[in-house]
Symmetry: D3
Subunit: 236 residues, 6 copies
């Protein structure tokens, strides 16, 4: 990862998913929100990093033998071994929230190896243990049901569908209390810088609104409000 | 708002939505429950007040220009400016929980202007900031997705659908941990008084049941239990 | 309940639903997970016990008179009076999470009479009061809507559907943060013993993985890992 | 079946489900529509008769052995043998339209034994063969998937849920192109007579509307229209 | 209606909804498809005309008295009386396909008064009679359930949601076997002309592809194919 | 394709999907049914052949430029050019039935090039034209909405999910009025032979049942019935 991208990702740790969907909409990209995921453990914080993808398809009795499911070559296992440090494991579970995609031992392996976190439109299990890991996990639900009952891990590092958004390997993922967003890495620096600027302005605007200023003229800001903002920014 | 209504609303702050759906069912009105909403911040407490309505329809690219969406004349903005103090902003989002209906700046404006709170079958975003406002917000979900991606704010103060219930401007809304209820203002005094009486009785009945009295004869109460209740009430 | 079953249930209090779905899958039983329920009050702890069932069908105006709904003979009321101590009341609500199946007074009665807890694919109401009971309640949602609006309690102690699983009277129910599992009583001893063994091994394996051992060779364990496990077990 | 009921059922063969939901609504019974079913073979005509019920719950691997599923004692098989002539087999499939509840051989047996037809909120298979039987079958969908994959036939002649309505054994079922309706047998004579009268009037009213008379005054009819109706009725 | 619009609508009777969604997508308007509707009677043909809207919200027992529901002032009745000749009645039923929005007498009145047809995301009943009218009706389903059970007709000629698209009074509706499309009247002439041109070209391209020409170079057409098209067009 | 497989596919043209799900269930493979698809044109007949797969993921504005979508290199276009004669194009549309996956020109190209047919859990458009092709097309719905609005064609010949079943390139697909089934090519000969035998027996059994023989002893057949079957088979 080059220095510019590192800097952008660092900045993005302070930029909310709300701000990012707004910035992306301005650029003609309304389809970048990964729907239906929430933090398993809000205290584990926000999640930012490049996507490493795992694709699950429906289980087939003739393909998923118990041996295969336990083999280190099984893509679900390989994902844990191969997801690079700092990356976000994105798991396409076809929106099935009734079956777990991972348990706590594989999740521990992922965290130990340095992954940034996990995003999936599927479910997690062993969630008490997962919460104890203090690791950013975003999922669509909780279910004890073993992944082998419904899922077959077919491939790593292919484009996937997650929460009705497409995620390509290397895309940037940002997730927080309001869900998860994906965008092409080429936009990282620009979104970091524009996003941070938008957020600073909005802190000011919220203060103004909280102080009783009317929405009209304040949000969005007219010239007078923008002038006040410039002054406020100088004095911070 | 006249004094009788003020008193009724004050009493209703202590009457649960459970009691109200039961009272409404007795009056032949089973359709008064707004389904699928829950408190974004349970610590912000219960919500009682007359409804002020905002209606969202699906976004249309030819109608929702960026200028229109940011204009003070846009009904979403006007709702914040015009919702009267003590009123509940009820937003019809067609049950779409994948897209936000409001962000934290508009929510701050609404609170600052004295609104009682918000009920919607749509989603909220900037939820960390919203939780910090300590303002009663009841919604169907959480999603960072910008409202302009899916919604067009078409009208204020028309009858709306919310959580599969109809809400007319001026109807009374009561919301708590178990969801939200709507009823016509004409019933406010009666429901307040009957609801409070039912709740007092049920406190007594729960104590009796907790003390080991059988359900039969206690709940619903027979004459003996009612007599004991009268005695208990005298001694409170 | 005989001593062997008592012992098994005691052991099962320490065995997670995750472990149980895995053990059941190994025995060719993937259909034992009760989907879509979660603990109303996680602090009330895990739930283990034999099932006592209540079946709800859609309300019919000609069958459910107010008198019938309040009568001690109504199966919903009888369930509270007749559910044996230590048993789990399993309520088939057809997955309708928009209507409550029980309120706090009946729940208090159930707890007072010694029931182990409740599992339903329906909703609960009076949930603040229910949470205060510190009683293990697993449900599909929360809704103030009175059960008489949508449900008719038709029978006790018949096989039921709950969360897309079949539950027969006397089946064993185990529920925790990851949901609820059902299995025939004949398997209780075997699942308790095998489940506890699996969990002990997995505690060791998670430690190994957390210490940086690769997934391959550790999970599932190869001979070397198993040997280390045996040594670890001796030293506990 | 007594003569009065026979006459009523004969009359009901000419009364539409639309008319019946209206008549039932007038009597305070809006919950009598069996939702989501349609005729597999519209040419096989309308279906009227008392309900004979079969209840399916989710499959359990420990309960549904291949032997049991093929045994004449299995309730699915017994339903075919025991459903009385003229009765409607109503199958509660929990609204699962992805799995068949019956195939063509059992359906042939049912028709041969004199059943009036079938209503289910589940799916049918062997549908080409079933269509060839010219037998009134109302179902929620079509799917080749074997019933043993998802269903366990648990009981006969108990109250069931079907299409979000409750059906009790002996209730009267009427089904046509617009779906299926259920009501208690006690109402059969009254609904037959009132329904037939409503339909005759509506034939007249539709003619009047088709002739250009305004809705106001015609539908519902004012005194003048009713007078014209009486004259029309005399002249038929 | 001016002559230009009349001409455009006449041309649009030959332009498919497929072509129109493609033309609208080219203009940056992907949100113009009314989802989930199909022709009740395909033989009644295509439907083109300006929208006249009726909005249904959930039924409320305190608002919808039997008298109100039967009054000529009830918006459902007024819609039939007031929908102008050549217009399409668009009914917002909130996607509820389990309840009818209209029966055959009101539908007859609408046809007699010269309406072009009906589009709704709700259900129809009396469908045998409706099919006999030979009138273009597009709906989301079929259900005998009386509209008064679930719907309250609140307003006419307001913007509505239908099939997850927004429809404004006066918008142009086109519906055929593939569903229904909506667009602003300002685009009618342009879409008619561009759509007809696209369709003529596609007839030619389909012939070429059917004759064995490869997709590459044919669809979309390269210069050679376009030249052949011009020659073909001359010779028609 | 070797001769044995050709023979098996030929035989499978007479074996129903019902028979196949039963045969697969006997072999411990209940997950082989592709749910929710039906024939667009039942008159076009049954569909049998090896799977050629196309995978669609959600549209991304930065990936799907109009140029890319029209390029012969776009996998949707390549699928038409590269699907081998006799093969079934299986399209994974993530169960989205609100958007078309193909139109009539590409479908014509596919038919002209010799494909056996198409199966998808998505929707089709230009359906009148498609029906006129007399080509076996199995889909989840009908919708005019352009595929570019919701789908991005990401890959060919990878394992896909379709109707909640996994389909691998080269798997055998059989589809008829009751839906579509998938199984590994290794089972083709065995399923063809066993399936045909089952169907012949069931023709006999249905005749016996239609003649009034009881289900018990006939279906499944006892020794006497099997003896009669052998005689019947000799005399055919």
């Amino acid at each position: 990862m080059d220095a510019e991208l590192s800097d952008a990702l660092e900045t993005l740790k302070q930029v909310s998913t709300n701000t990012l969907t707004t910035q992306l909409l301005k650029r003609g990209m309304p389809s970048m929100f990964i729907g239906g995921t929430s933090p398993l453990n809000p205290a584990a914080g926000r999640l930012v990093g490049p996507a490493y993808t795992l694709r699950l398809i429906p289980m087939r009795e003739d393909k998923l033998t118990p041996e295969k499911g336990r083999s280190p070559d099984y893509p679900q296992r390989r994902a844990v071994a191969e997801c690079p440090p700092g990356h976000v494991l994105v798991i396409d579970a076809r929106g099935d929230t009734g079956t777990a995609v991972l348990g706590d031992i594989l999740m521990t392996g992922l965290q130990t190896a340095g992954a940034a976190g996990v995003v999936t439109d599927g479910a997690m299990r062993d969630t008490d243990a997962m919460i104890a890991l203090n690791f950013p996990i975003f999922c669509g639900g909780i279910a004890a049901k073993n992944s082998h009952i419904s899922h077959f891990a077919s491939e790593l590092q292919v484009p996937v569908a997650c929460g009705n958004a497409a995620v390509f390997p290397g895309d940037i993922i940002v997730a927080d209390a309001d869900g998860a967003v994906v965008f092409p890495v080429e936009l990282a620096a620009e979104l970091a810088s524009n996003g941070a600027a938008q957020e600073l302005l909005e802190i000011f605007l919220q203060e103004r609104v909280a102080a009783g200023n009317p929405i009209a003229g304040t949000y969005p800001p007219n010239d007078e409000t923008l002038e006040a903002y410039e002054a406020w920014k100088q004095n911070r």
